[in-house]
């Protein structure tokens, strides 16, 4: 059974038709890359999986998205619970103005966990998971802003991991980072894919080939092609995909 299933998804911002009849199925522990030119709808689609678009007024969703067989837009769904299960890492590192420790502990605290020993354990585990522990273990009480941009982004990944989600959404997580930090984040994605189902939006096609199992190419609100990453980048079935990956537009 697939982990995530999107059926006939249409999405409107006001009168703008941003996503057109998207169907997609993602298996557990797969890494899927969304590629496509700016404004093609890939980020909009990503933000549907944790209902982040709910925050934007005057939008409309048709169709159905299920995670673990549950329609996440059903009335009975608790959005906060959903977001605990579907973590998100944003384009720009956005740590809170708190200490490194409190940044990671935040998700646990807001979800009602009071046991300090457990929180400390989860903070360490998450920071280790995000390959940041060795760099920050001596300055956990220091401000998160004392970290470099790349470290901040890994802190945000640790923060997302701390609440034990099963899905991680990454919206161009390396676009604001230097090449070395980018390599670290990509390496990290490789390491954590055994525990998570990951969807990553990227503008960087090398990145898509490096990190993903499957790639979805979006263009003008439509899902043009969705296949194994290898196939997409070596032998795409659609001409638009071919044009985009060879750099003829976008």
């Amino acid at each position: 059974m697939s982990k995530i299933e999107a059926q006939h998804v249409d999405f409107h911002y006001g009168s703008f038709h941003a996503l057109k009849d998207i169907n997609m199925s993602i298996k557990e522990h797969e890494v899927v890359a969304f590629i496509g030119p700016s404004g093609c709808g890939k980020s909009t689609f990503l933000r549907l999986f944790n209902r982040m678009n709910d925050l934007i007024p005057d939008t409309r969703l048709d169709g159905q998205i299920t995670i673990d067989g549950q329609n996440i837009y059903d009335r009975s769904v608790n959005v906060d619970e959903l977001r605990k299960n579907v973590g998100m890492v944003f384009q720009r590192p956005n740590p809170f103005p708190k200490s490194i420790y409190e940044n990671v502990a935040y998700g646990l605290r807001v979800n009602g966990i009071k046991d300090e020993a457990f929180i400390a354990e989860m903070v360490e585990e998450s920071l280790r998971g995000a390959a940041l522990w060795d760099e920050v273990k001596d300055k956990l009480k220091k401000s998160a802003y004392a970290l470099s941009g790349g470290q901040q982004q890994r802190l945000c990944i640790a923060r997302a991991m701390a609440v034990s989600p099963s899905v991680l959404l990454m919206d161009e997580p390396a676009s604001a980072l230097d090449p070395i930090s980018t390599a670290k984040v990509e390496e990290l994605i490789h390491e954590i894919k055994k525990d998570y189902t990951i969807i990553i939006v990227t503008h960087n096609m090398q990145q898509a080939t490096r990190v993903s199992d499957k790639t979805a190419f979006f263009y003008l609100g439509q899902l043009i092609e969705y296949d194994n990453t290898n196939k997409i980048f070596t032998n795409p079935s659609k001409e638009e995909t071919q044009n985009y990956i060879t750099g003829r537009f976008g």
Binding site: L55, P57, G87, F90, P97, Y106, G107, V110, R159
Partner: protein, 295 residues
């Protein structure tokens, strides 16, 4: 050759224009600072002669021809605290509501317009309104309670607007970051947004306090007493206040030679209090900003 001349000429003209503009700006800023200093110097020169420990710790004597202004200082303090207790929670909550919960609808646009209008109402009108609502209708009488509520109304739009502006300045990525971890909207506001907005909110609050401390018209019909030998004992008592005391001494004194210096002394004390309040605003702002960095 010609081309070179044109460019040199052009450059010279641009430099001249820039120099003229900068000199004008410099002179104008100088004028403003000078005016402020003249006002301060004027008050200090006229008021310093009466300013001593007794002046700020004893009540007026001899039909306000002598003694100090202690009851007026205390009264102003009570009014500041009272109006803050009323306006701060209400204003901050309104500001949060307007920016975090409902920032897109027509209703909010309407509320915002009304808030701005409220800020533009002359303070004497607040005074009349406070008299008819708090003093008469609610039956609080001329009292610290009625005066505080009236001053609170005056401060309310200031508090709402600073809160709204402070929260608006916080990038959405922080809200999304918190919500994406499963935090509720309220938790996001309480744990992330409010602490980040606090330095700016505090500054606005304290500036509103400074404004309140100097207002005369709103307390004219609602609270201020001409002369009270003893300090107020409850919120239903009247009190003296510095700006009103100053107004009374300067307009309806019986012995101008003795009372004008007292009036200037009162003005000096009021200005010093407002100055301290503003310095406090700066200190608190720095404190919260540093706390934000390390917490």
């Amino acid at each position: 050759m010609d081309n070179k001349n044109i460019s040199v000429n052009n450059h010279a003209r641009k430099m001249l224009a820039q120099n003229v503009a900068f000199t004008t700006f410099r002179i104008l800023s100088g004028v403003i600072v000078t005016i402020l200093f003249i006002i301060l110097a004027f008050i200090i020169i006229k008021g310093a002669s009466v300013l001593n420990w007794d002046f700020i710790t004893t009540p007026p004597t001899d039909g306000m021809k002598g003694g100090g202004i202690w009851p007026a200082i205390v009264g102003t303090f009570y009014l500041m605290v009272g109006s803050a207790l009323f306006a701060f929670p209400l204003g901050i909550m309104s500001g949060i509501y307007m920016n975090e919960y409902a920032s897109h609808g027509k209703i909010v646009k309407f509320i915002r317009m009304m808030t701005n209008n409220l800020a533009g109402i002359p303070s004497i009108v607040f005074g009349l309104f406070g008299m008819s609502l708090f003093v008469n209708f609610f039956g609080f009488g001329d009292s610290i309670l009625a005066g505080s509520l009236t001053l609170g109304l005056l401060a309310l739009p200031l508090v709402i607007r600073t809160t709204e502006e402070a929260l608006k300045a916080i990038p959405n990525s922080f809200r999304e970051g918190s919500l994406a971890l499963g935090a509720t909207k309220l938790q996001t506001i309480w744990h992330v947004i409010l602490p980040m907005g606090m330095p700016n909110i505090i500054t606005g609050l304290i500036l509103a306090l400074g404004r309140v401390s100097g207002e005369t018209a709103p307390i004219l019909f609602t609270c201020a007493a001409y002369f009270l030998p003893q300090l107020p004992e409850s919120v239903f008592d009247q009190c003296m206040a510095l700006p009103y005391h100053l107004y009374v001494l300067a307009t309806s004194g019986t012995d101008m030679d003795k009372q004008i210096p007292i009036a200037y002394g009162t003005a000096l004390v009021l200005v010093i209090i407002i100055l301290f309040v503003n310095l406090l605003a700066n200190a608190l702002r720095n404190y919260f900003q540093n706390k934000l960095k390390t917490n």
